[in-house]
Amino acid sequence: MYKILIADDEPNILLSLEFLMRKSGYNVFIARNGSEAMEIINRDKPQLVVLDIMMPDIDGYQICTHIKSSKELSDCKVVFLSAKAKEGDIKKGLEIGADAYLTKPFSTRVLMQKISELLK
């Protein structure tokens, strides 16, 4: 069973994503800010992380960079899910190694599709 971490500071997003992931049969971890996310990533080593960029303490970019630079986490996929929708933001996200970048508001179907593709 794949382990998936959802990191976002907006409770409603967490709630909806958690519902969707569980329904698709993933093992879901929840983080409400950057530092919680880091802790879970280092401890539980999820196969995929759904990351918000703007969070109160550590931002999504830093977390992604951490994942992509760590050997232990080499097969961890990163999906950005952010309200930052400018071209430059997306480009930056992909440049630091994210596997997908979706902008809010997003389609739950596209997201789930993307996740299952990445985990194949």
Binding site: D9, E10, N12, F19, I53, P56, A83, K84, T108
Partner: protein, 900 residues
Amino acid sequence: MNPVILSIVFVAYLLLLFFIAFKAEGWKWKGRKITSLPLVYALSVSVFCTAWTFYGSLGSASTGSLNFLAVYLGPTIMAPLGFLLLKKLVRVCKLQQITSLADLISSRYGKNISLGSIVTVCCFIGIVPYLSLQLKAISESFRILGGYSFDYKGVDTIALVISFVLIGFTVLFGSRKTLTSEQHSGLLAAVAFESIVKLFVFLLAGLIISYLAWNSLSVGLNSDRIVSGFASFFKEKEHSTFNFGDWFWVALISGFASILLPRMFQINVVENDSEHNLTHSVWVFPFYLLLINIFVLPIAYAGYLFLGNNTITDYTLLLLPLKYNLPWLAVFVFIGGISAATSMVIVETIALSTMFSNSLVIPFLARQANSNSKISSIGNSTLFIRKFGVFFTILSAYLYYEFVSHYTSLISIGLISFVSVAQFAPSVFGGLYWKSGNKYGALSGIIIGFVVWFFTLIVPSLAQNNILSRDIIDYGLFHLAWLKPNSLFGLDGWGSIAHASFWSLLFNFGCYIVVSVWTNQTEEEKAQAELFVDIFKYSEVYESSVVYKGVAYIPDVKALLANFVGDVRANNLINAFSKRHKIENDISAKADPRMVAFVERTLSGIVGSASSRLMVATVVKEEEVSVQELMGVLKESQSLIALNNELKRKTIELNNTKSDLEDTNRKLIQLDELKDDFLTTVTHELRTPITSIRAFSEILYDNPDMEIEDRQHYTNIITRETERITRLIAQVLDLEKYESGRQKLHLTRFDLYDVVISVIEGMQQLVAEKQININVTEFSHLVIADEDKITQVLINLISNAVKFVPQNTGEISIECSLVSGMINLVVSDNGKGIDPQFHELIFDKFYQAENQTIRKPKGSGLGLAICKKIMQLHGGDISLRSILGQGSEFTIIFPINREV
């Protein structure tokens, strides 16, 4: 003392002067030509102080009279007023190339020849005695030092020799050049040097004599006795008590003389190359007068004590050093006397010879000159006429000395001269400030003034010397008692100077005004009157204004000028002028009227305005220019200048507008960027709830078999997120209202405590659910503010606090105090606190979504930004103190009584 040595000293001093006069133009001081230094100019104004000052003040003081002081008081009081007068005079004379007092008066009253001649003659009659006084001073001081007797038979050869030396000297000094406004800058330096010499010598002699006198007195005497002796000296000597009338009139005519004496006019106006110089002379001159009078009384007292009563009191300064056996000091004094006398003679004679040639002889010749060859002969003889003028002037002074002034004291002659030149005051001052003054007024005023002067001052002195019958003094003219020269119309008991000044000036002023009012001005006169009185208005446009309406040809005009300045110079002048004004300068062309006017002005500087006008008339087929036409031209030039100024002003305005626009543009760009940020922020804020709504909508749609509980939960979330969007939109609109200034306060008086309590009551349910405590310290402050807006702020702050304090243990406290008229209301909580990095950001409606990846604490939204706007609109502010993990403390302050 050996007369040969004295002669050598005399000649050597003159040679030194000569050296200075000829070399000074090349000397520099701190990079400036010394002849154009303001101080040099200011010192040369002290040519006012002649041998009469140097020796005569002592003569006067020795007879116990303090009246000599009035002679220096007048110019001192006059100095500030004279400054304004002279400024105008200098401007007029520079523009019109006027080079003498006679020319000034003639020029002002329509370039009238007879007026100029009369003024010249009057000046001669008035000044020649004054000049003779200087010869007398040099000659007599020479006699005293050389040990010659005053009682000689026949001709005073010493005075005759001195006269010829001075003639030669003045000719060399003053009549070398004919052109350019008659300035002699070397002369100015020499005169300034003489001013220093005479002051230095007087102060030196004064110090030494005072010291010696004090020393010899102190032996066996105490200082009290000296002082009381000094006082009794005056008591004993004083013939008449202090008379205010005498002082007033002497001061007044001395003040006039300090401007109107030909030599003063020469220095103040003709030799003055910049109006700026006057700002220096206005204080240097009075200061000089003060210094040169400081030792007069002590020396006079010493003379009284040590020379006895029967000496020639005028020469006290010379006799005392001899008495003390200090021959070197006596020689110094002799030199000081020479310097005072020579500077006066030279400058006065130059001024008089200019008048003699330009206002008397040349106009006479010019009137007969109807062809260029005749004018050419005038041109050739100009210098000769001037030299002859010098010769004639000084020789007249000698003859007067020889036959009339032999026995009179120095000071009386000086004052008589002063009264004579004061007769020009009405026409000169009136001419500068009163447009209606005309030539008949000036002519009649000057003539009657002079007649009265002659009758009241000259006639008595002639009678005393037995040249006229004494009857006239005792019984009056034609035995008419009211025509007694010393008590005209029965006016008795005044000093002769006050008496003469009063009557002559009264008749003079009266005639000038009455006759001017009764008679008409010619067009030429009107034009000149306009130019003189409003000179500051016209001086800018003067040169380019056309004053001629006739037809002239350039070769004629050039030839006319060449008669006086030579071909080369004439060519240069005309070429320069045509280049400056972009005038055609073709040999066959008609001369531009401006050029004709220029030539006339240039000639005025050489031969005087009246002659110049006559000569120019020979080459111009002239029609009379009416004053309207002249004024039209002047006004046109003026309006051109005004237009030009207007254009300059407009250009400056445009430049200002341009930079304003650039500023505004910059601000707009900035605002635009801020607007972008704001939009990003707002859209970002909108995206979050929309994201939730979409996600839950899709979940609900894709999962029809969902449990009813979850379904309700999710639809509830969708509703709340919709409300959140609505609230955000309302806030954006609200904020925009504050930004644009459309939000107005509705001020009422209310108790702030009541508002706090009602806000808390509104949140009672929330508080009860979360089981937290709100403590309000009781207070009562009546404030004048917008109750709704303050309520809005309080709701925002308290509900934030409620949101962030922990369940069950949450504590919120509200306190209010009044500090110097300002309400300080503090809402504090024991929540998790706010990271200092957000303290600034939290009240900001933008959080730079562009570069920001750290999120603002949730829920603050735009609420606090609006709170800040509300408090600022109240003239107050909102602030935050918070330590992460230890709670936050929001403070609002605003004036308790905001009167709008």
